[in-house]
């Protein structure tokens, strides 16, 4: 049997870059990045709680709001979702996976982005209402809440539920990662077809040497001899090829379960596929929905190759949920999942590497949506077939209709489109919060409403700016687009489809704004660090040089911001055109469909340009 291993391909791959590649392949690459950020977070927490409560002089005022925000948008522009890769919140959460049960499935009603949208709205509002940027103390509380929430949620639920369904930072990255030049992707797609084990999603198992104390008391392993798939007579449940995806339905399932979109190839991800909790709960979570997942054809049968074909490790996990046992176990009724658990925990095997905890199956993964760049799949794939590849940024917008593993078809995901729209408008509202006209508007609104409480006025303002206005604008635009092109698609479908075209202009605005803060204040970390150390009696960095701030001349800033916004507009228009062309084969019709969206995009550009040329003003309390 030939040993399977990905060949070198023509694609540019970060993993092939000399030093970086070696580092990223290293087993502890993510942990080491996270450890660095965990220490930084510890400093932020400390200084935020106990340091001087003046944001420019406090690590919690400077590092998150100047450096981190600037760094993440720049990283998204030139690389990809680097923050999630190094996310410090995931480190304590790893302990949670071991200390807490982590065995529940994320409730079906919120297996979408709505909850995250709510969290984002609350965050944007709180940021202005309580001037988080001006309060190191509150900033530290936000960070602490983050650690606790990730710990608690992922300690209760399977997989990376927090990242996928809750984390607002994650959503920001998932959406804007669509414009990034890097993507975690298989190198040779055909190799996946003949992969017998699908470790990238299920995790890699190894022979367990002996009982170990962490799990001995918990698990049941009644079937001893299943470590060889052949011996136990397992076979895939064959289904007819489902054919092309029905427009109206494919996305539905992806909406209500985080793990569909595997569709055609159909390796069903267990809900906690490869989650770290598998150490104790391996297979228990056989997902009833997974039984629907058909195989493309018998040729794609995962058992076509014997397990010996795996070069890196011998013993395999035979219990993957996509196999229906032919003997040894009755067909499992959908209602009863219990037997699955028993079969699924093979004796003598233990998880040594988790598979994708966000339920993205490499063979069917499309684009960066929901990918945290956690590198688990790269570590898990025994054939070295997953890479971090360079691609044409925005190329994934061509695949909106395609079924994405773990995501579904983007054109069917109303929730995702809503997330996109909120983020795009937030880019402008967030910048609006820093220029004088907002104060006049607030005053006016307060008088109209007869209230003096700033949080209330801001609450109204945010509901208007991030919910009502976008809703009306997008609805009207979609209606015009449909009417002009004579499209028979539903209004919601048109709105959803074209929403994605707004991502680049929104991203341009985020880049301009956060890039501005970063460029103008990057060096302020130096005096703050100097004074931090000096306050502890170790002035090894010398006296604080408070005059340090900008890294580029101030006169560059507005031109640079406009350039970024312009780029965003052009890319948005291009993406919009592509989306329209995909739907309408005639150029003229596509142009008509695009027109209203182009108007919105250009309007956004002018709004952004106007915001940038406003004098900046920073006020905490506006009313009264």
């Amino acid at each position: 049997m030939a040993v399977l291993r990905a060949q070198k391909t023509k694609q540019r791959d970060l993993l092939d870059v000399p030093v970086v590649g070696r580092f990223l392949r290293w087993k502890h690459a993510r942990t080491s990045l996270q450890a660095v950020l965990l220490v930084v977070s510890a400093l932020i927490l400390y200084d935020g709680f106990w340091g001087p409560q003046l944001a420019p002089k406090n690590l919690a005022g400077v590092l998150p709001w100047v450096h981190w925000r600037g760094f993440v948008v720049l990283a998204l522009l030139i690389a990809g979702n680097i923050f999630c890769m190094a996310c410090p919140f995931m480190l304590p959460r790893r302990l949670a996976k071991k200390l807490l049960p982590a065995d529940r499935r994320w409730p079906k009603v919120i297996r979408n982005k709505w909850l995250a949208i709510g969290v984002l709205l609350v965050f944007f509002w709180a940021y202005e209402a309580f001037d988080l940027w001006a309060s190191p103390w509150l900033t530290a509380w936000v960070a602490l809440t983050y650690f606790v929430a990730a710990f608690a949620i992922d300690g209760i639920f399977k997989g990376a539920a927090f990242c996928k369904y809750v984390c607002p930072i994650g959503q920001f990255h998932f959406v804007h990662g669509m414009v990034s030049p890097l993507e975690v992707k298989v190198r040779q797609p055909d190799l996946c077809g003949s992969c017998p084990t699908k470790d990238c999603i299920k995790g890699r198992y190894a022979q367990r040497p002996e009982q170990d104390f962490l799990r001995s008391s918990r698990e049941t392993t009644p079937i001893q001899e299943t470590s060889s798939p052949k011996a136990s007579g397992w076979t895939a449940k064959s289904h007819p090829h489902p054919g092309p995806l029905p427009q109206g339905r494919g996305g539905l399932s992806s909406l209500d379960q985080g793990n569909v979109g595997l569709g055609k190839a159909g390796v069903s991800t267990r809900e906690n596929a490869g989650s770290e909790s598998d150490i104790r709960h391996s297979g228990e979570s056989r997902n009833p929905d997974d039984w629907d997942q058909p195989w493309k054809s018998q040729e794609q049968h995962p058992l076509r190759h014997s397990r010996e074909s795996s070069p890196r490790h011998g013993a395999r996990n035979p219990s993957s949920s996509e196999f229906q046992p032919q003997s040894g176990m009755p067909d499992i009724p959908r209602s009863s999942l219990q037997p699955a658990r028993e079969v699924a925990t093979p004796a003598g095997l233990q998880l040594v590497q988790t598979g994708c905890e966000l339920w993205l199956f490499q063979e069917r993964k499309v684009g960066n949506m929901d990918c945290t760049f956690c590198l688990d799949c790269i570590q898990a794939c025994p054939y070295d077939n997953v890479g971090i590849q360079l691609r044409v940024p925005t190329s994934e917008f061509r695949k909106l209709d395609q079924l994405h593993s773990g995501v579904g078809a983007l054109t069917q995901r109303t929730d995702l489109a809503a997330l996109v729209i909120v983020l795009v408008f937030a880019a402008f509202v967030n910048a609006f919060g820093m220029v004088p006209p907002v104060y006049s508007l607030e005053q006016w609104l307060a008088t109209q409403l007869g209230v003096t409480s700033e949080p209330v006025v801001l609450g109204v303002l945010f509901i208007i700016g991030l919910v009502a206005l976008p809703f009306v604008l997008v609805t009207v635009t979609a209606w015009c687009s449909r009417a002009l092109a004579g499209s028979r698609e539903t209004l919601a479908a048109t709105a959803t489809r074209f929403s994605y075209a707004l991502i680049p202009i929104g991203f341009g605005m985020w880049l301009a704004h956060y890039g501005f803060h970063f460029l103008i204040g990057a060096l302020t970390a130096i005096p703050v660090a100097q004074s931090f150390l000096a306050d502890f009696g170790v002035p090894i960095l010398g006296d604080p040089r408070w005059e340090l701030a900008a890294i580029v001349p101030e006169s560059w800033l507005v031109p640079l911001e406009l350039l970024l916004l312009e780029l965003g507009m052009l890319v948005s228009l291009t993406v919009g055109y592509r989306i329209a062309r995909k739907q309408h084969s005639s150029v003229a019709r596509a142009m008509r469909a695009l027109l209203p969206w182009a108007v919105i995009i250009v309007l956004m550009f002018f709004t952004g340009a106007w915001l940038m040329t406003q004098p900046m003003e920073m006020r905490g309390v506006i009313l009264g």
Binding site: A55, A134, P436
Partner: protein, 156 residues
């Protein structure tokens, strides 16, 4: 050992990293809070010209007293104006002594409207240093100034 119990090793490693981070916070906090302000100085802003404070050149006059309320003479006083928002370019200037513990800034400039914080760093005659902060809220931005001058015109 390591390869035989990867999950245990992994657990221990994660636990150690997390505990270290927690520990560093505890150790730091045991050292006590970072100094908010230092030295026993009493600084008040006597006046800001123009009044009300607005974007552009300005002179801030300060009254500096010691702990006993006596005017501080012969100190070298630097003034930093900064925003409540991190990452903005601070304005750092020197002062000239006006006598009786009063000092006026030289070449100070409000670079934007909003809430400013005035940080006074004094090196006293005996070489000791002290730092105090005073809030200076609501520096008028260009827009308010425009509106004001419009009103002035209408009034005339």
């Amino acid at each position: 050992m390591r390869s035989r119990h990867p999950e245990i090793m992994d657990f221990i490693r994660t636990a150690i990293i997390v505990l270290l981070a927690l520990l560093s916070v505890l150790v730091l906090s045991a050292c006590g809070p970072r100094a908010e302000q230092s030295g026993d100085l009493d600084v008040t802003i006597l006046s800001v010209s123009p009044d009300p404070a607005a974007v552009g050149d300005a002179v801030i006059t300060l009254q500096v007293r010691d702990a006993d309320g006596k005017p501080v003479e012969g100190a070298t006083i630097a003034v930093e104006g900064t925003m409540t928002h991190a990452g903005m370019q601070p304005v750092i200037v020197e002062t000239e002594a006006l006598g009786e513990g009063r000092y006026a800034t030289k070449d100070f400039r409000f670079t934007m409207g909003g809430d400013w914080v005035i940080i006074v760093r004094a090196t006293l005659a005996d070489g000791s240093t002290a730092e105090q902060r005073v809030d200076l809220k609501g520096v008028q931005g260009e827009m308010q100034m425009d509106m004001k001058s419009d009103q002035d015109k209408e009034g005339n």
